[in-house]
């Protein structure tokens, strides 16, 4: 969903840059409470991992592709404020070194994939975790739904920005239909990858998953062991 230069006018790009700057500034303050000696290197790892997985475009219908955004996954793993910082670093590296996403559009991309995807992904995750059973399956389902919804929501926020500051003159309904439709499908991939990665980390080191802290006590008190979810050991498949 990397927005190139030229799609949005200068006013809109400057506005999203301001929004992104405020968001990142807030994240710099908020992340202080999420990070310590042990978790900071893991946050770096998470960002590097998201960069790598974002290169893996998966095919979607109609000769289209999509890739993980990673906002929900990162937020559940290392916390939402840290996730904003991780996503921002990934987007800056992509824009500056690899020309993936425009530079005047960097604020737009940080807003969409850093702020919106993280906020929706993590917000939905927390809301569902509060009502679903406090099990690993409940946690994975919450993260999966959050990840799924984060993608079409970010796409629709782009459509909103496009309605404010499109350079091209095209019918907004058409843009919304295509963007919404294809990103619902990409969202399914986002959910699948998020659940697979999170499931794998939970299987080996649940203590390192920030969003799973509430499970620690629950698991310790559980009367019987829950069967581990069937996580494909893709890491062994090379």
């Amino acid at each position: 969903m990397h927005v190139p230069d030229g799609f949005l006018d200068t006013t809109t790009s400057l506005s999203t840059a301001a929004v992104a700057a405020v968001g990142v500034a807030a994240a710099l303050r908020g992340a202080r409470h999420e990070l310590d000696e042990r978790t900071a290197p893991l946050a770096g790892l998470t960002a590097a991992f998201v960069f790598a997985v974002q290169m893996m475009n998966f095919p979607v219908l109609y000769g289209t592709s999509g890739h993980l955004i990673g906002g929900a996954l990162t937020a559940v793993l290392v916390g939402p404020w840290t996730a904003v910082l991780c996503m921002t670093v990934v987007l800056m590296v992509q824009g500056l070194l690899f020309a993936d996403g425009g530079l005047t559009a960097l604020g737009t991309n940080v807003t969409l994939m850093g702020l919106v995807a993280v906020a929706v992904g993590y917000g939905v995750f927390r809301a569902l975790v509060a009502v679903l059973p406090r099990t690993r399956a409940g946690l994975l389902a919450s993260a999966g739904v959050g990840a799924f919804l984060s993608v079409p929501t970010a796409a629709m926020v782009f459509v909103g920005l496009f309605s404010l500051g499109a350079v091209a003159d095209v019918p907004l309904g058409t843009v919304a239909t295509y963007m919404g439709g294809v990103h619902l499908l990409i969202g399914l991939g986002e959910a699948a990858i998020t659940v697979a990665v999170l499931g794998a980390v939970l299987a080996v080191r649940p203590d390192l998953v920030r969003g799973a802290r509430h499970l620690q006590a629950a698991v310790a008190l559980a009367p019987r062991a829950h069967p581990a979810p069937a996580v494909p050991t893709g890491s062994d498949a090379r």
Binding site: F7, P41, A48, A52, F58, V93, F98, A168, Y178
Partner: protein
């Protein structure tokens, strides 16, 4: 940076090393097999008729533009190398940033006297 040396907890190191190896394999090898179709936004832009309004980024002349290393002719090697560089740069920047931002253990404020300007400006 000293990111690597910070990982003292051996049990954390296991996950960390596994994650890095996986990321390098995905970016360095797996990315060759990624779908080359336009992504959702590109496709939507083409279908709706505003794909043409995209402009080349100022960074389009970067030696790593479009995930290829300038001067490396073999596509697989070029893309893989670009991916590995991206993973390493992202790791160093994000790891460095989060280490800077992190909460210091209590009492270490006096120990980090070597970097007074950064801490002196903080009011929060």
């Amino acid at each position: 940076m000293s990111t690597l040396t910070r990982v003292r907890n051996p049990s954390t190191r296991g996950l960390w090393v596994t994650g890095i190896v996986l990321a390098l394999l995905i970016a360095g090898v797996g990315s060759w097999y990624a779908s080359a179709h336009p992504d959702g936004l590109e496709w939507s832009a083409e279908q709706s008729g505003f794909g043409d309004s995209a402009q080349d980024s100022v960074a389009a002349d970067s030696p790593l533009a479009d995930y290829a290393v300038e001067g490396v002719d073999d596509g697989r090697l070029s893309g893989g190398l670009a991916g590995v560089i991206g993973v390493v740069v992202t790791l160093v920047l994000a790891g460095g940033l989060t280490l800077l931002v992190r909460r210091r253990p209590a009492g270490s404020g006096a120990d980090t006297a070597g970097t007074p300007p950064a801490t002196a400006r903080e009011h929060g």
